[in-house]
Symmetry: C2
Subunit: 301 residues, 2 copies
């Protein structure tokens, strides 16, 4: 989505991706789009990809381990794929004099905040998961490089970002569970977890607007919606879309899993002051995503 | 100092140190202190030292690259000696079921704060140096491990810690410069940088008190003095102690170097609420340290 937006703006785009979670078919075809190149490489091996940075106007660093829970059983995953990969990216930007670096961070850096909506100035930051710790580490690196070497950094603390192509996250998980057993849907936690959900295209539009209009050395912006929706409501919506009368069962506990952040609502006043508003509520973003997933799976026709 | 305090409390102490900045003579002699062992090892190679964690009640992680400015020319230093070393320490604590982990972090995680005295809740955190980024990364790891694996973490955000044994820092640097050229003293920045200085023994006493009395999963505490002193004043004090009429010359600029944090005054309300107060002002801590350094160097006798 970001790649398409950048191409639409007339940029040349060089994608570096290990294609571990995304697929090449998610991207435009470089054969028909001469301003796009795709290099399959591992960020932990900068020699394999850093020549792509030569002459670049900006770098967008979106890569991370996408499975937060995996960090619990394999703690080195987030260090290597998060922190160390981020170091290689921002250090390559320095060595190739790339003037702007963008990072997709996450609301999880706030830990379990006590202020809602949570502003960018909230502290102290107490990451709950190794994934969150790696995002905080990446933020620190992007900040330090901006202040030390003069490049400009953009750090986006994102709410839950959703679309139908994603192969992880609560909506995907619920559909997968119902596919395996249409009679029951197990929900981690007590269902009262309530979070803010933003569509991918709206997130991309927000990042591009902030990148256009903010001009501090380090620019930290929350992006999310103005409301939140509970996991119980999402479960009910998915069950309805699935067209079955599945029984919803809660595993209990206020956190879905170790490292889960059960309450999430970000203040988006900073981005709003620049002129950005999310066009959907969380419920509308979830509804649209569920409808797309159901359609793609041939459900409810 | 921490080692002696822990021994005085009756603990067995296992030191792991690469002795890159400290010296073995700074520590008690294990030959006469059977509860002390010293292992010279590199934290980046956990196989060499992690057996020391077996059965430990607590780990104190004090190691870091001590030369903040070195990170500017060699960015990988703070990643390796800070972030990755901290990962190995906290992960070894998890594997050996050590219930408590203490980290000496730093006021530099606040970046250039706009609130003085700066409270622990200050945000957003914008590290100015790769050293500061590595401290923030270590904080994130200690927080994430506490929330994920159930150990208890203590994170101390320290003001400038000084004593006569240190072989780095502003007082040491000034004495070294005057040794090379007693007629002039070059001071980085405009001299208006004003910071809080805490004696090492007072810092240790503060950490031990917080460790005894705070019992959250993650305990983040500033430790510093209630006042600050300017670099110009320190320069004048060192020149007087040196017994020469050196001319003080300022290089100019509000920051001493890229990554310097020129204004530092931490709120110590949290630690004070537990019963801790620094016994010295910053000026008194500096005076005492200068007197000790001058004595050790045979000056002014």
């Amino acid at each position: 989505m970001l790649v398409r937006s950048l191409l639409h703006r007339g940029h040349e785009v060089r994608v570096i991706d290990n294609l571990s979670s995304g697929q090449r078919s998610d991207l435009p075809d470089p054969a028909s789009e001469p301003r796009l190149s795709i290099l399959q490489a591992d960020l932990r091996e900068p020699k394999a990809w850093e020549s792509q940075f030569e002459g670049a106007e900006a770098v967008w660093h979106l890569a991370a381990n996408r499975d937060i829970r995996l960090g619990t059983s394999r703690p080195e995953i987030d260090l290597e794929q998060g922190t160390i990969a981020s170091f290689h990216v921002i250090d390559a930007a320095r060595r190739h004099a790339v003037p702007r670096a963008h990072l997709t961070s996450s609301c999880v850096v706030y830990g379990l905040p006590t202020v809602f909506p949570t502003p960018e100035s909230y502290g102290p930051l107490e990451p709950q998961s190794l994934y969150a710790a790696s995002k905080l580490a990446a933020e620190g690196l992007f900040s330090a490089y901006a202040h030390t070497y003069g490049l400009r950094s953009y750090i986006f603390r994102l709410a839950n970002i959703i679309d139908a192509r994603m192969n992880h996250g609560v909506i995907f998980d619920f559909f997968e569970k119902l596919k395996r057993d249409p009679t029951r849907l197990e929900v981690l936690g007590d269902g009262h977890q309530a979070k803010s959900y933003l569509r991918t295209e709206d997130c991309v539009a927000g990042m591009l607007l902030v990148a256009d209009r903010a001009d501090a050395k380090v620019n930290i912006y929350n992006l999310g919606t103005l409301d939140r929706i509970s996991v119980r409501e999402i479960a009910e919506k998915v069950v309805r879309a699935h067209g079955e009368k599945a029984r919803i069962e809660f595993t209990g506990g206020s956190q879905g899993w170790a490292g889960d952040v059960p309450q999430l609502l970000l203040s988006i006043d900073r981005a709003s002051a620049l002129g950005w508003r999310p066009p959907y509520t969380s419920a509308a973003a979830v509804d649209r995503t569920i409808a797309e997933v159901a359609f793609a799976r041939g459900l409810g026709r």
